[in-house]
């Protein structure tokens, strides 16, 4: 490979800061059902990519970073930072490691981040603000906004932290990159396996009724296998994507139509 590992540290503090700001502002800006935060991630790492790759490599790596990604934006910078450190050292070689890591870490980070910043903080400061507000006192509102500013400060520390961890990872295991790649991919795929029943939401609405006999179809299906419908849907789309002429646009249109049809046939709902 033509890795140019000459400039020891191509990514400098300014790059980290730039990525940080982009992540802060744009991680969810183009959120969509198909790949959720993929574009936000791509946008944040784009300057880094432009530094590290040229030509077709750049195209390829942009594609790599436009894959399904979803995590809590508050803590996601940590993943971004790790990624940057790994790519800086290993360039394209690290393509699979980072996909594995991104996929493997996004799920648990979402859980932790959502609980802390999506439940605990808003509940605590939201209730304080509300009870004060009900008495006509805006202090609680101010306080909450202040806390949110502090949290922004906190978020800025996570990406550099991830960068350091990632650097540690690659220096420690650089000579065993293949093994590391496999391990990361393994982790990622394990998490994807768990994503299917977690992220895909498909409940069979159909209930068979005849006299006093009712049969909830979803219960029957659960008896065969939990999350059977999501599995079948993933398999279906996975199969479709194997055909030459199938694009993700077509796939998404197909699934949309499927959703509408199934709803109106009262199959899903």
């Amino acid at each position: 490979m033509a890795n140019m590992k000459t400039e020891a540290n191509m990514i400098n503090k300014r790059d980290l800061m730039a990525a940080n700001i982009r992540w802060l502002l744009c991680s969810q800006i183009c959120w969509n059902y198909e790949r959720m935060m993929s574009t936000g991630y791509l946008y944040s790492i784009l300057p880094t990519l432009q530094k590290l790759y040229k030509g077709n490599d750049l195209k390829e790596m942009m594609g790599v970073h436009n894959q399904f990604f979803n995590t809590n934006p508050m803590v996601g910078g940590l993943i971004l930072g790790m990624d940057m450190a790994i790519e800086e050292r290993e360039k394209k070689e690290a393509k699979e490691v980072i996909t594995g890591l991104k996929t493997g870490l996004m799920g648990p980070f979402a859980g932790v981040g959502d609980t802390i910043f999506g439940v605990i903080v808003p509940t605590v400061f939201g209730s304080i603000a509300s009870y004060m507000a009900l008495k006509g006192n805006p202090t609680g509102v101010m306080m909450w906004m202040l806390v949110n500013l502090l949290i922004i400060g906190l978020r800025f520390t996570l990406l550099p932290l991830g960068y350091k961890q990632g650097a540690k990872l690659v220096t420690e295991f650089a000579d065993r990159l293949n093994a590391l790649t496999d391990a990361a991919v393994l982790l990622g795929i394990t998490v994807v396996g768990a994503l299917i029943p977690t992220v895909v939401n498909a409940k069979v609405a159909y209930v068979y009724k005849s006299g006093e006999v009712t049969l909830k179809m979803q219960e029957m299906i659960d008896q065969i296998m939990p999350s059977l419908i999501p599995v079948l849907l993933v398999a279906l789309v996975y199969g479709l994507l194997g055909h030459k002429k199938m694009t993700s646009t077509k796939a998404i249109l197909f699934v949309m139509v499927l959703g509408i049809v199934f709803y109106n046939l009262k199959i899903l709902g």
Partner: protein, 267 residues
């Protein structure tokens, strides 16, 4: 109705910004109590805004938009409700009566915004293929439009046409589309997942796909738990790989070295 033009402009901008804020800076403009206060200030009655915002806030405490789920948007509700209450000299209760149906209606528009952005996503894909980096950037940033407009437009319409329009829309929206879109929204992530599976060397690690699935689907292990299992399996795999490699190279010495490195326990 005597809303000043500047008030309408500010409130529409506020609606636009509130959702963008929740996606980015998160200084809090997504929360009813904060947005209610700001709306109150614009309408010249902070206390009213505080009261309306606070009541709505307490109704959504701890309800978050996890995994991209759409939730009642009482933030937009707070804007509209406070504005109407202020201009008609009504109390907070009246405002809540408007804010709640508005909030529920907004769920549909949230779904729509999340849909619409797949359009920009695919344009990003195309620009990547063409190597047009500026196009990539532009299209990602354009994603902000559906988000912002999904709030700004309805607020604008409602402020102009009043409360009755809310009821009209709520009642006339055809169910086949709304319900259908909701179902479609639930299953759309399969596309992203399937692409990811095509992208990753899934065949090589399909066993772990199954393990992750069984853990989540049969044993209800939450994501962090699954990741812990994944990490454990990855470590086992990693150690085996680096153990196996030197053997292939035919050198036992490296092998032993590899072993020692692992254990911190040497005596």
């Amino acid at each position: 109705m005597d809303l000043a033009v500047w008030q309408i402009v500010l409130l529409v901008l506020l609606a636009f910004y509130s959702i963008i804020d929740s996606l980015s800076l998160n200084i809090g403009c997504q929360y009813p109590v904060i947005i209610g206060t700001v709306t109150g200030a614009i309408m010249g009655d902070v206390t009213l805004g505080l009261a309306i915002g606070a009541t709505l806030q307490l109704m959504v405490l701890g309800v978050g938009t996890y995994g991209g789920a759409s939730i009642p948007d009482f933030t937009t509700g707070a804007i509209v409700g406070t504005a109407f209450a202020a201009i008609s000299n009504q109390n907070a209760e009246f405002a809540i009566g408007i804010a709640v149906p508005v909030g529920l209606l907004m769920v549909q528009l949230d779904v729509l915004a999340r849909f619409t952005n797949t359009f920009f996503l695919h344009r990003v894909d195309k620009n990547i293929e063409m190597g047009n980096i500026r196009g990539v950037k532009r299209n990602i940033l354009l994603g902000a439009l559906p988000w912002g407009l999904s709030r700004a437009i309805p607020v604008f319409i409602m402020l102009i046409f009043g409360k009755s329009v809310v009821n009209f829309i709520v009642n006339e929206m055809p169910d086949w589309l709304m319900g259908g879109l909701k179902v479609a929204g639930g299953i759309l992530p399969v596309v992203g997942i399937a692409i990811l599976l095509r992208y990753l060397p899934t065949n090589k690690f399909v066993a772990y796909l199954i393990i992750g699935f069984v853990a989540a689907a049969y044993l209800n292990v939450p994501m962090l738990g699954v990741a812990l299992i994944g990490v454990a399996l990855a470590i086992i795999y990693f150690k085996q790989s680096i153990k196996a490699v030197p053997v292939m190279a035919g050198s036992n010495i490296t092998m032993d070295g590899g072993e020692n490195e692992d254990g911190e326990y040497e005596d």
